[in-house]
């Protein structure tokens, strides 16, 4: 503390070379730390992190895994600094140096060995469907790309089933990918493992190309973002909420069962909202359900609070009192809602976990928008 420090520009250069050139643009105004959801919960300070990166100062390793890549800082930065790219670059430099934290090693290893982060058997990727789903073949109109989480996580499997049910009901020509596909790779990219991401990406791209895939439906905004911005193909990526909004507007799906005034609020997933600009479609879908009492939380749309699941956060252990999803559930409870709707498998996992640990299971339920719509359809006799 008392001795003077000297800049260690080799580290800054390494960060820049790994994709963090945006370090140069930052003029340290502090807007990023001002908006970062972690600032009031922990000692993580994103501006200081960038400062340490600019000069190669010590201390950058301490908090580098905390960022959940929610994009709030990037969207508000007056200099247009690509802050998340800097975080990824720092993580890349350190993880390639063997410094990946324990809590993240399991999922990265699983991605590498099994093509999914849940240690699931790759051959069983489509088993959630119990054999009733069509398989995609060249010429099928839509590929329904199931996020690994909806394939393997027991809670999120219901989302996949609801989605499949909706697609069938609407008469969409769709199919599941073969079990040769793997994770979109988003989480690998965000924790700095660029090589693993490339491998996963290339495998998927090959399968998409050889099957002439044109339209891809996804549940996960993380898949949506990655396919749209980082895969670079000619496919049209459609999020389930966008598709549902269109189908409902066209009358191909008709939510019928009245919710009887149930109060529902909606959590904007960061990768659907801030990263991809989709705010209205999920709200339009929810509002079309008869009998819904739709209310907004305090922090919504571009100002929405992150659930903490991105950037590796889904696998990171956090101390009580430092969990963003706890705060988000509390915000939802404040509205008096009994259903907290969202549209992302990661958000669902994080929010469900918080509902349990806060002891609020009797007061509020977490549901995906697709589940709510599916449940509101008139049952087929």
């Amino acid at each position: 503390m008392a001795s003077p420090v000297t800049p260690y520009l080799e580290i800054s250069q390494a960060i820049e070379d790994a994709g963090g050139e945006a370090l140069r643009k930052c003029y340290q105004c502090g807007t990023c730390t001002g908006v970062c959801p972690w600032s009031s919960l922990s000692d993580f300070n994103i501006r200081k992190f960038i400062r340490q990166g600019q000069f190669g100062f010590d201390g950058i390793e301490e908090f580098m895994w905390d960022c959940s890549t929610c994009n709030y800082c990037v969207s508000m930065c007056p200099r247009g600094v690509e802050i998340i790219d800097i975080v990824r670059a720092v993580r890349r430099v350190y993880s390639e140096g063997g410094q990946l934290p324990e809590s993240l090693r399991a999922f990265v290893g699983s991605l590498s060995a099994r093509g999914n982060p849940w240690s699931g058997d790759p051959d069983k990727r489509n088993d959630w469907c119990r054999g009733t789903c069509p398989e995609y073949a060249a010429g099928t109109e839509y590929l329904y790309f199931t996020c690994c989480t909806v394939c393997y996580d027991p809670r999120n499997v219901h989302v996949a089933r609801a989605t499949a049910g909706l697609l069938d009901r609407a008469g969409i020509d769709w199919g599941l990918p073969s079990t040769n596909v793997n994770c979109c790779g988003e989480s690998a990219a965000k924790v700095g493992n660029a090589d693993l991401f490339e491998r996963l990406k290339n495998n998927n791209i090959e399968i998409f190309e050889s099957n002439n895939v044109k339209n891809i439906i996804v549940n996960s905004p993380h898949c949506y973002y990655t396919f749209t911005k980082e895969y670079g193909g000619e496919y049209k990526i459609i999020h389930t909420t966008e598709l549902l909004a269109d189908l409902i507007r066209e009358g191909k799906l008709i939510p019928t069962k009245d919710l009887g005034g149930t109060r529902v609020t909606y959590h904007d997933p960061c990768y659907l909202g801030r990263h991809s600009g989709i705010y209205d479609a999920p709200r339009d879908v929810l509002r079309s359900i008869p009998g819904i009492d739709f209310v907004e939380m305090d922090r919504i749309r571009e100002q929405a609070m992150c659930c903490g699941g991105g950037g590796g956060g889904l696998w990171t252990e956090r101390n009580k009192g430092e969990r963003l999803s706890d705060l988000r559930v509390e915000e939802a409870l404040e509205t008096g809602a009994t259903i907290l709707a969202t549209a992302c498998p990661y958000c669902i996992s994080m929010l469900e976990d918080s509902v349990k640990t806060l002891g609020a299971s009797e007061k509020i339920m977490v549901k995906d928008v697709t589940e709510l719509v599916f449940e509101s359809l008139e049952s087929l006799v």
Binding site: Q28, C29, G30, T31, G34, V35, S39, N45, M76, P78
Partner: protein
């Protein structure tokens, strides 16, 4: 046979370092028609010019070629030398062997070869040049000043002091602009009205200034020295010749509208003067708030007015004026901060923008100079947020220049008028002017707290009992690396200074261009900041870019000087290198009229041929190239002359 003199400049080392000038001179001297060739280190200097003049006389030259820098630099300089030596200035040719040769080529052989080729081309053309006579046009003596804020006022007073006739056109009912809304000005803390109103009165009293308020320019035709301008004087529904300014009508008027002068914080009457010191002191009726115009009833003002000055039948009138020069001084607007929902302007009633706060401080404002918020309370804590919309890629990348200083001014005034805690949230403190840094120091000593960190958010959700009922500003204090929640009663935003919303229309009216931030663009940012690319149209004040009052006044005085370079003369010399139409060859196709960017050609339907207005023509050559019959000749760039130059270029 011509007697051509070639003068090749070293330009110090700028040319000589790359071009072998001695070799070029030898080459030139041997060319047919060339009588002598000389080298000199700085041809534009006095001895250089004298060399040319003496050579003309000694060798009886009838054509001169100067191979040196760009003609934009010194064509005028050497043309004067020609005149002094008794030669027509259009017998001069400038060859650019600097910007287009030595400055862009590294290889000496190539550069020298190019210089030779360029000079050869010039010699071929020079032989074919003819004398041309410049035309002189009469200059109209008046100046139009658009905008009656401090810039327009100052520039009008300067011009009037020189005996120039000024037409000052202002679109609102009074002059004074935004400066009239301020309370005190930094760094001297002069009362704004105290320094402004004497000037406003001086404008009113000055016999050389014709003040047209509540008026707008609707059309501009003509060219430098002779602008024909249409000014629309909007209907005031009050006859200002009969009105004595007693304002009894204002007292009784039942109609109400939002006060523009008070930034909407107060209501004013439908018949009104914007503020007590308005010039002229005579009211106008706002149709949108007048009960008679809206519902057909009332007319109380008409009944009260003893002079019979109310005239509901009044119509807009157009006035045609002719001036020699125009100065644009149309000012700025503050950015609307409502879209920045994170700061709560428009949502939380105690979030203010800068001009609203000026009105609070001002004794003629809605709270009579007391700091009282919209909810009636006096604040005990105030946060001033810098850079709202400025220095921000999401809104305006530029810095608005004045906000750091007025934020300090606000802090000082808050400390003077209240016992509140005052916080400033800044990224940098920009205190660049005379007395500015000292003012910053003074405000620090007054106990204002400075937080280096751009404010991220303003919220009213309390998380502790101390925060109840407060507005909480969230930001990082970067200097101590801590995330702050700052509970305050009042938040003041410093919004970006923007170009006026109608800048696009104004730019089209006056044929000036806008920069990427929609401010009017100057001819050169360093060396010609008050001229535009349209000759005779000048700029002053914030319409050219954000600036404070000292800079605005300086620019206004400068713009007056610029305008005087036009109207101070009785005649202007017109460039002779313009186009002209040979009427016997014109087929009346109108193509020249269609292609000209300067509206110089017009079709004379009586004669059935096109004619070119030589004052508007810039000699660009578009019409000459387009004319299908070759009826149009470009003086100084005739077909023969241009082909001659090409032959010379390609000969080597």
């Amino acid at each position: 046979m011509s007697r051509i003199g070639v003068f090749v400049c070293d330009c110090g080392l700028n040319i000589a370092r790359t071009v072998r000038v001695g070799e070029v001179v030898e080459f030139a001297a041997a060319l047919p028609g060339v009588v002598m060739a000389e080298e000199y280190k700085f041809m534009c200097s006095t001895p250089g010019q004298e060399l040319i003049q003496e050579s003309i006389e000694r060798h009886n030259l009838d054509r001169v070629i100067v191979a040196a820098c760009s003609p934009l630099m010194h064509e005028k300089t050497f043309r004067k030398v020609m005149e002094k030596a008794g030669l027509n200035q259009y017998l001069l040719t400038i060859v650019n062997i600097r910007e287009q040769c030595s400055w862009v080529i590294e290889d000496k052989d190539k550069a020298t070869a190019k210089a030779k080729a360029l000079i050869n081309g010039a010699v071929h053309r020079s032989r074919l040049l003819t004398s041309l006579d410049s035309r002189m046009i009469d200059v109209q003596p008046g100046v139009l000043v658009v905008g009656g804020g401090i810039a327009g006022i100052q520039t009008s007073l300067e011009l009037a002091a020189m005996g120039t006739k000024v037409y000052l056109v202002e679109k609102s009912p009074t002059i004074g602009g935004h400066m009239a809304q301020f309370d005190k000005t930094f760094p001297t803390l002069d009362c704004s009205a105290c320094i402004l109103t004497p000037k406003m009165d001086a404008v009113l009293q000055n016999p050389n200034i014709e003040l047209m308020t509540f008026s707008e320019v609707t059309e501009v035709k003509g060219f430098v020295g002779n602008f024909d301008v249409t000014v629309r004087q909007k209907a005031r529904y009050v006859d200002h010749d009969k009105c004595t300014g007693c304002l009894s009508c204002v007292e009784k008027c039942p109609g109400r509208g939002p006060s523009e002068f008070d930034e909407g914080l107060e209501r004013r009457k439908a018949i009104y003067i914007p503020f007590p010191q308005a010039v002229p002191q005579k009211p106008v009726i706002d149709r949108d708030s007048c009960i008679y115009f809206k519902k057909g009833k009332c007319r109380l003002c008409e009944k009260i007015c003893e002079q019979g000055a109310i005239d509901f039948e009044q119509e807009d009138t157009d006035r045609e004026i002719t001036v020699g020069a125009i100065i644009l001084a149309t000012g700025y607007d503050l950015m609307d901060t409502s879209p920045l929902v994170q700061y709560g302007y428009g949502t939380y009633q105690n979030v203010y923008q800068a001009l609203e706060v000026e009105r609070l401080f001002n004794a003629t404002g809605p709270t009579e100079g007391n700091v009282v918020m919209r909810d009636g309370r006096e604040p005990e804590s105030i946060a001033i947020l810098h850079c709202i919309g400025s220095r921000d890629k999401n809104y305006h990348e530029y810095c608005s220049r004045v906000c750091c200083m007025y934020a300090l001014k606000f802090a000082h005034l808050f400390k003077e008028k209240t016992s509140a805690d005052v916080y400033q949230l800044y990224i940098d403190m920009r205190c660049f002017g005379k007395g500015y840094e000292e003012f910053y120091n003074r405000v620090l000593e007054e106990g204002v707290k400075f937080i280096r960190g751009k404010a991220a958010r303003v919220t009213d959700r309390a998380t502790t009992p101390d925060e109840e009922g407060k507005l909480i500003v969230e930001a990082e204090d970067t200097l101590s690396s801590q995330f702050l929640r700052l509970p305050v009663d009042m938040v003041v935003l410093a919004p970006a200074m923007e170009a006026r919303a109608d800048a696009g229309e104004v730019s089209r009216l006056f044929n000036v261009s806008l920069d990427k931030n929609k401010f009017f663009i100057e001819r050169h940012p360093k060396l010609d900041p008050l001229s535009t690319m349209t000759e005779g149209v000048f700029l002053a004040g914030t319409c050219q870019g954000p600036k404070d009052i000292p800079d605005t006044v300086a620019q206004a005085m400068g713009a007056a000087a610029e305008a005087l370079t036009i109207v101070g003369k009785e005649q202007l010399e017109l460039e002779a290198a313009t186009a002209f139409v040979n009427p016997s060859e014109c087929c009346g196709c109108h193509n020249c009229v269609r292609v000209c960017p300067y509206s110089a050609p017009s079709f004379n339907s009586e004669k059935g041929v096109s004619e070119i207005n030589e004052a508007l023509c810039k000699g660009c050559g578009l019409c000459g190239a387009t004319c299908p019959t070759g009826a149009i000749t470009m003086r100084h760039f005739t077909n023969d002359q241009v082909m001659g130059e090409l032959e010379g270029l390609m000969e080597l």
